[in-house]
């Protein structure tokens, strides 16, 4: 009877903490609004601290940080939680996203409907569980937890537009979940296990007669993840749904598509590495070409968007496409760059969705005010208004040296930073990620999947999509900030600006500390492409209650 040290139990904390918080928040009901908000924020901050502690723990303890057996069953039979480098990275990203969105919601959105905070916590629980679990069916359950919470959150605030897009979102995700189940059932039927490590170990020994069934199952599972990761042509639901969601919800959803990308990266690198015999690199071409089609679709969509909210949705699609195409090559250097890009683009997308809300609020003021003015009976005389170049204010003084309101300055600077990260322009983190990927693509040795044509197509697409997205962002930014207008300066609260500032600060930090970050991600990619590490770590886990000798 040897109890685990406390640090081992840290691995289950990202799941239990939001679950317990959600339960307490539900019991509190809708009373004690301040206490509920404080509890939710404290829990989210604690979750962030736990995620960072896990990441440091993993970094300190070699390639596979920790394996935890929640039910204390021996390995292939019970559920396992695996905290490796990739899981650590995704947990920190999810927690940072959660803290940012939650802080933003404190200003207004938490009061727009009931049960916002419990749903938010359950969403975080589903995200954390999906990143940690090492069991295929448990992955399905955590997917359903996070999806069920996301259905509720998407409806938060009400209104016909949200309900209509929710209907589409729910039906698409229900269908994807059914495909997920079919894929899991087929894989179980062929391999006889649901433990991801055990399955990966058995795959090379699957007889040739069953290999077709195995590939069909993996492909169906892949389609389910494609739909969640918004891969073209399964992504028509994303821009309307994310555009209709309330700002903190849309910004939290920025990480939902990354769950699909994560699942593909985890399962594909684990189950179909070079060494997988008859199934080596199965589906790599689908990842590469599907990802590139998605990237092209997202970039053109960004150029075509007339509203910032839709542009943000297409930028998420473009990010998904970039990641999948880069992952599909199956090369550690490229995967490391993609992971860096994943982190920076997720943080930027969260900040962008929060900014959209603040900018739209400023526009709303502009739309509301002049209504009475335009319907007034007074004719407009041509010479009553000053010539456009003179730019006079009410006292007919030329506008020289007038201070820009602080709120507008903040929005402008934040928008420029977000645009730089999203478009991947220097000197910010999006650029570092893209350069890491482009450098890896220049290496002629990586044509294992897709060949030279795929390599150069992705290279060109990465450059062109950055160009297109910067055009789209600059155009909307000019319309937003430079177009002549009499709108009053938007009123911002500190609690709304703080998360945007923090998230953008993280993007800047990723550049300043770029070397250790890239080294960590390089190690992550290396261990991902050596699945034996993951398999051995999971299989080496032993239950604590009974010593292994006593069971025999």
């Amino acid at each position: 009877m040897n109890a685990l040290p406390a640090s081992e139990h840290l691995l289950v904390a990202p799941v239990l903490l939001p679950l317990a918080t959600a339960a307490v928040l539900l019991m509190l009901g809708e009373r004690w609004r301040t206490a509920r908000a404080l509890l939710a924020v404290a829990s989210a901050l604690l979750g962030l601290a736990v995620a960072v502690a896990l990441l440091l723990h993993v970094e300190a303890h070699g390639p596979m940080g920790a394996v935890y057996l929640p039910g204390d069953w021996p390995v292939p039979f019970g559920i396992v939680l695996v905290g490796d480098r990739l899981a650590g990275l995704m947990l920190v990203l999810a927690a940072a996203t959660g803290v940012g969105s939650l802080l933003f919601s404190l200003a207004r959105w938490q009061r727009a409907g009931v049960h916002f905070h419990p749903l938010f916590q359950l969403q975080l629980m589903g995200l954390n569980g999906a990143f940690l679990t090492g069991d295929l069916f448990n992955l399905f359950v955590f997917f359903e937890v996070l999806l069920a919470a996301s259905y509720g959150l998407l409806l938060h605030g009400g209104g016909a537009a949200r309900v209509r897009t929710s209907l589409h979102y729910i039906s698409i995700n229900l269908l994807a979940s059914l495909l997920f189940l079919i894929g899991v059932a087929l894989l179980y039927g062929v391999t006889g296990t649901l433990n991801m490590a055990d399955m990966a170990q058995r795959l090379p020994h699957v007889p040739a007669s069953d290999r077709g069934l195995l590939h069909a199952g993996a492909a169906i599972l892949g389609v389910a993840f494609f739909a969640k990761a918004a891969v073209w042509p399964l992504n028509a639901w994303l821009p309307p749904a994310y555009g209709a969601a309330s700002a903190p919800v849309a910004s939290l959803f920025a990480i939902l598509t990354k769950v699909g990308v994560y699942a593909l990266l985890r399962l594909w690198s684990l189950c179909f590495p070079d060494s997988a015999g008859g199934s080596a690199l199965f589906g790599g071409d689908a990842l590469v070409w599907g990802g590139m089609a998605t990237l092209a679709f997202g970039a053109v969509g960004m150029l075509a968007s007339q509203q910032l909210g839709r542009l943000a949705g297409f930028s998420i699609i473009a990010t998904s496409g970039t990641l999948l195409a880069a992952i599909g090559f199956g090369q550690p250097a490229l995967t490391a760059g993609a992971l860096f890009y994943l982190a920076s683009s997720t943080l930027a997308a969260v900040a962008l969705y929060l900014l959209v809300e603040l900018l739209e609020r400023a526009r709303q003021a502009e739309i509301d005010v002049p209504l009475e003015v335009t319907v007034g009976p007074l004719p407009v005389f041509a010479d009553a208004r000053p010539a456009a170049e003179v730019n006079l204010d009410d006292q007919e003084l030329p506008l020289v040296g007038r201070a820009i309101p602080g709120a507008l300055a903040f929005l402008g600077v934040a928008f420029v930073i977000v645009a730089l990260v999203v478009a991947g322009l220097p000197p910010l983190s999006g650029f570092v990620g893209k350069v890491a990927m482009l450098t890896a693509l220049l290496d002629p040795g990586i044509g294992a999947v897709g060949g030279t044509a795929a390599r150069w197509t992705l290279f060109a697409l990465l450059v062109v999509s950055g160009f297109l997205s910067s055009i789209g962002l600059v155009r909307l930014g000019m319309r937003q900030f430079w177009a002549p207008q009499d709108r009053p300066a938007p009123r911002l609260r500190v609690v709304e600006c703080m998360p945007i500032g923090l998230l953008l600060g993280l993007c800047v930090l990723m550049v300043v500390r770029g070397d250790p970050a890239l080294r960590y991600l390089r190690a992550t990619a290396d261990s991902l492409h050596r699945p034996a590490l993951y398999i051995d770590a999971v299989r080496a886990a032993r239950p604590v209650a009974r010593a292994p000798e006593a069971r025999r």
Binding site: F137, V141, E144, L147, A148, Y151, L155, G159, A160, V163, R164, S166, L167, H168, I170, S171, L174, L175, S177, L178, L181, I182, V184, A185, L186, Y188, G189, L194
Partner: protein
């Protein structure tokens, strides 16, 4: 046995797909339900169909699939049933809300123009 189960799965799935592609929300709801039944039966069937076998390995008999039926797919089906039931109920609520808000039972909340 195998023929009957696979026919049932096929008919349920085909009807479900057809209904999901229909323009009325209630048809989509029924289609999703039929699809989830088909998937549940499918999961059940991957654990090797057997008649009169319990999902319990008995003492004295070898624990292979000739002597007992695999219990894992049954527990998976149980989880899948609960989840699809809950999400279908939620879908029904959203369907009614959309009907109330827009006075239309079309999935896009407006009729197609010819």
């Amino acid at each position: 046995m195998e023929i009957v189960v696979s026919l049932v799965i096929g008919v349920l799935a085909a009807s479900g797909v057809w209904l999901v592609l229909r323009p009325r929300t209630f048809q989509v709801l029924i289609g999703l339900s039929l699809l989830s039944y088909a998937v549940n039966l499918f999961i059940f069937s991957v654990g090797s169909l057997a008649i009169d076998k319990e999902p319990i390995a008995r003492a004295g008999e070898p624990a292979d699939l000739l002597h007992y039926t695999d219990p894992l797919p049954q527990s998976l089906v149980l989880t899948a049933i609960v989840i699809s039931f809950a999400t279908t109920a939620l879908f029904l609520v959203v369907l009614l809300a959309l009907r109330g808000l827009t006075d239309s039972d079309h999935v896009d909340a407006e009729e197609e123009r010819p």
